[in-house]
């Protein structure tokens, strides 16, 4: 395969398949082949964090109330969320991915973009490189990953979904339009249920239908952001959704709900999990910031980002969660939500921005001491997390009983 050594950009989107549930199945092989639901509890008013493909067959999806999942899939095994464990596995895999390219951008605990531009001549065909990564993830971590390869992040992301699970798909330059056209409208990334309904009302049922529309027509009927997004996306043009990744110096994560979410408890529960992920990564990366960012994408694909800069650096999940929750609560009017994200912008330590250190970064003893200190924090944080999580769930329950 010697095609496409063209100097085009080249992106991999790596997505770990049913990550939490797969880690559970790997750690406990008796769960293999069973419907595994992580998060929530039959009797509790929790929310499904993740589920195995076996459970998905029954219609279970993440962010679904646990009670509903239990009804849909009575034989499901419910397991508590073991965030530390997932984080640990994720870290190892992300490190492995980072060894493939310096331009690795982790999107969430189980998802990353690799900018592989210019590597084909050096390392061989992209598909071979991706196969090697998949093999490494499988042999070293016992998990499967789906990888999509394309010239843009948007296409790579849709390509990783294309043959999931354990998929590998490359969208070649000359196949881009055909690839997008072959997708169901629902698989066009970023297209929510509500928008699909509205498109159906306009007589638009397929990607080809969509492509027949003018941009101004779409903007007029769906609003400017959705309209332009769809006009570009259906042509395989990446509107630059993830382009800011490479510039931002931040630790962030986001999650797309399996269905548009309207109840605040679910948003909060999921937000807490995202905050834990971000904070662990901050501790790990030694990256702390004063600024908390949140992102909400509603069903109409309108994305609102908010941020708040604190007096001190964000140092605990508790702090991050409280700030992020307040930001989300302030900006939410009840519109169904399809995606939420949270992040900490690091190193814009306002006062010390652009302020070099006297001792430089080479002071090993400093670095080591700091690492030790942060390990202690991490342990402390773990305890803290457990407590808060329990509280959050209990509060949610009480609310439920009161209504």
């Amino acid at each position: 395969m010697n095609t496409d050594q063209t100097g085009d950009p080249l992106f991999f989107h790596v997505d770990l398949d049913a990550f939490y549930a797969s880690v559970e199945q790997r750690d406990n092989p008796t769960l293999l082949g069973k419907a595994v639901i992580v998060g929530g509890d039959r009797n509790l008013r929790g929310v499904v964090s993740a589920c195995s493909y076996e459970a998905r067959k029954y219609g279970v999806h993440s962010a679904m109330p646990a009670a509903e999942a239990a009804r849909l899939c009575p034989e499901a095994v419910f397991l508590p969320v073991r965030m530390e464990r997932y984080q640990e596995v994720s870290e190892g895999i992300m490190k492995l991915l980072a060894s493939a390219t310096p331009a690795m951008h982790q999107i969430s605990i189980d998802e990353a973009f690799l900018d592989m531009s210019g590597t084909e001549r050096l390392l061989g065909p992209a598909v071979d490189q991706a196969s090697r990564l998949k093999r490494l993830v499988r042999t070293e971590y016992g998990l499967t990953a789906s990888i999509g390869i394309a010239r843009s992040r948007l296409l790579a992301k849709m390509a990783s979904d294309y043959r999931k699970p354990d998929g590998l798909y490359r969208v070649h330059r000359d196949e881009e339009e055909r690839f997008v056209a072959s997708l169901d409208l629902k698989d066009l990334w970023g297209l929510g249920k509500k928008t699909r309904i509205r498109l159906a009302q306009l007589g638009i049922e397929t990607v080809q239908d969509l492509r027949a529309q003018t941009e101004s027509h779409l903007r007029g009927h769906l609003g400017p952001s959705t309209g332009t997004y769809l006009y570009k996306a259906c042509r395989g043009i990446d509107p630059g959704i993830f382009a800011s990744l490479s510039r931002k110096h931040s630790v962030s994560t986001e999650t797309t709900f399996g269905h548009d979410v309207t109840d605040w408890d679910t948003v909060e529960t999921v937000l807490l999990q995202l905050c834990e992920q971000v904070m662990y990564r901050c501790f790990r990366a030694n990256a702390f910031g004063f600024t908390v960012t949140t992102k909400v994408r509603t069903e109409d694909f309108h994305t609102a980002s908010r941020q708040k800069t604190l007096k001190r650096r964000v140092q605990s999940v508790d702090e991050l969660f409280a700030t992020a929750r307040a930001l989300l609560a302030a900006g939410w009017d009840g519109t169904p939500v399809r995606l939420i994200g949270v992040g900490v912008v690091s190193d814009t330590t306002r006062v010390n921005r652009d302020q070099p250190d006297l001792f430089g970064s080479a002071d090993d003893s400093d670095t080591k001491k700091r690492a030790v200190e942060e390990t202690v924090w991490r342990l402390r944080e773990r305890l803290g997390v457990a407590v808060h999580k329990a509280r959050a769930l209990r509060d949610a329950q009480n609310d439920g009983e009161n209504t």
Binding site: R350, V351, Q355, D357, F359, K369, E373
Partner: protein
């Protein structure tokens, strides 16, 4: 326990005790002050488990004994009372009675037995060495403001004390600026290992010490002790390795110039009015002149020019203005000397004539 004491005498010591007690803590025995009377002496003790304070004042003792009471309330009561003798007494039911003589005032505070009070560390008499109070106060003043409050760099959260060739050297840094002072002890200081002392006790010493005579200092593995003027303060030390500060002290700088200290302070104070959160100011040096300006912002811009003795190429540098104003507050002399080599390397501040201290500031990046 029963004793009588003049209100003005005891209120001063109890307010020191209250400063030691960390009021942010939940109520516990640590919120209490320990009172112990014996041999016509009242011993007052307070601790937050890190910093401990003990003082003794002469009182008239009717009955020896000890107790602990909620310090915050005791202080409030004492402050509200008029000057004059006050009788203090513990009753059987864990109650502490405060009764000004010749008045119809009667306060009864709940007390906790003194055996619940944490032990306070002591150092043996032979471990102490003497050091000039006035010199220590000056050394604290020149350094304590530079301590880092970044908890992730906890080993910079205190002032480093070190014996170098028999002189006391104190250094503080937050990683971006550094303050250094060396005592003039004629090389007679006894040997002790380098220690990192938290700023709380140092600020207390600066406030409480009379500045006359000597202070007695002892260093144990985890604690430092300071005894002076009937008062005993001790603090747990910060464990960890203080950074190798020697290597960031510039050996020799290429340019050096003098500027009037109070003019510079005043100019910084004015320009800083328009400085934003970044705290960034610009210094533009040219022959005989220094221009201090703020960044152009939505609010506006400030600029002030001062005379100085600079001779060299036109140079622009950016600095956190606080890193200049803080040392300028404690430096002496009409003039200060600024030294630098290039705008990206550390700048040094001296008094003129050079004394036992200097301050180092790392510039910010330009643009």
């Amino acid at each position: 326990m029963k004793f009588t004491c003049e209100r003005d005498v005891i209120v001063r010591e109890i307010s020191v005790a209250q400063e030691i007690i960390s009021s942010r803590n939940v109520l516990s025995i640590l919120s209490n002050v320990l009172l112990l009377v014996d041999d016509n002496t009242l011993t007052i003790r307070a601790t937050d488990l890190k910093v401990s304070f003990e003082t003794q004042i002469p009182v008239e003792v009717q009955e020896a004994g000890s107790t602990t009471v909620f310090c915050d309330k005791l202080l409030g009561i004492l402050r509200s009372l008029p000057s004059g003798d006050i009788e203090f007494e513990t009753s059987q039911s864990e109650t502490f009675v405060i009764r000004p003589l010749f008045r119809k005032i009667d306060f009864q505070l709940k007390s906790i037995s003194s055996d619940k009070f944490p032990e306070i560390q002591h150092a043996g008499d032979d471990q102490f060495f003497e050091f000039s109070q006035s010199q220590l106060i000056e050394m604290i003043s020149q350094t304590v403001f530079a301590v880092s409050d970044d908890e992730t760099r906890y080993f910079m959260n205190g002032v480093y004390f070190e014996n170098i060739d028999g002189d006391m050297v104190m250094v503080a840094t937050d990683g971006r600026r550094l303050s250094y002072i060396r005592s003039d002890s004629d090389g007679e200081l006894p040997d002790f290992p380098g220690i990192i002392v938290p700023p709380k006790i140092l600020s207390m010493i600066r406030k409480l010490a009379s500045g006359e005579g000597n202070i007695r200092i002892a260093v144990s593995e985890k604690t430092v002790f300071f005894h002076f003027d009937n008062q005993k303060l001790s603090s747990s030390l910060i464990e960890g390795q203080f950074p190798n500060y020697q290597r960031v002290i510039p050996d020799e700088q290429k340019y050096s110039f003098h500027v009037d200290r109070s003019e510079l302070s005043e100019a910084l104070r004015r320009v800083s009015l328009l400085v934003e959160k970044s705290r960034r100011i610009y210094l533009k040096l040219s022959e005989g002149s220094i221009v201090i300006s703020s960044e152009q912002s939505e609010v506006g811009v400030a600029r002030e020019e001062l005379e100085c003795s600079y001779e060299g190429p036109e140079t622009l540098m950016a600095l956190n203005f606080v890193y200049l104003t803080e040392p300028l507050k404690v430096m002496q002399g009409d003039q200060i000397e600024l030294q630098f080599t290039e705008p990206t390397k550390a700048m040094t501040l001296y008094s003129v004539p050079k004394t036992s201290y200097f301050h180092i500031v790392m510039p910010m990046q330009l643009d």
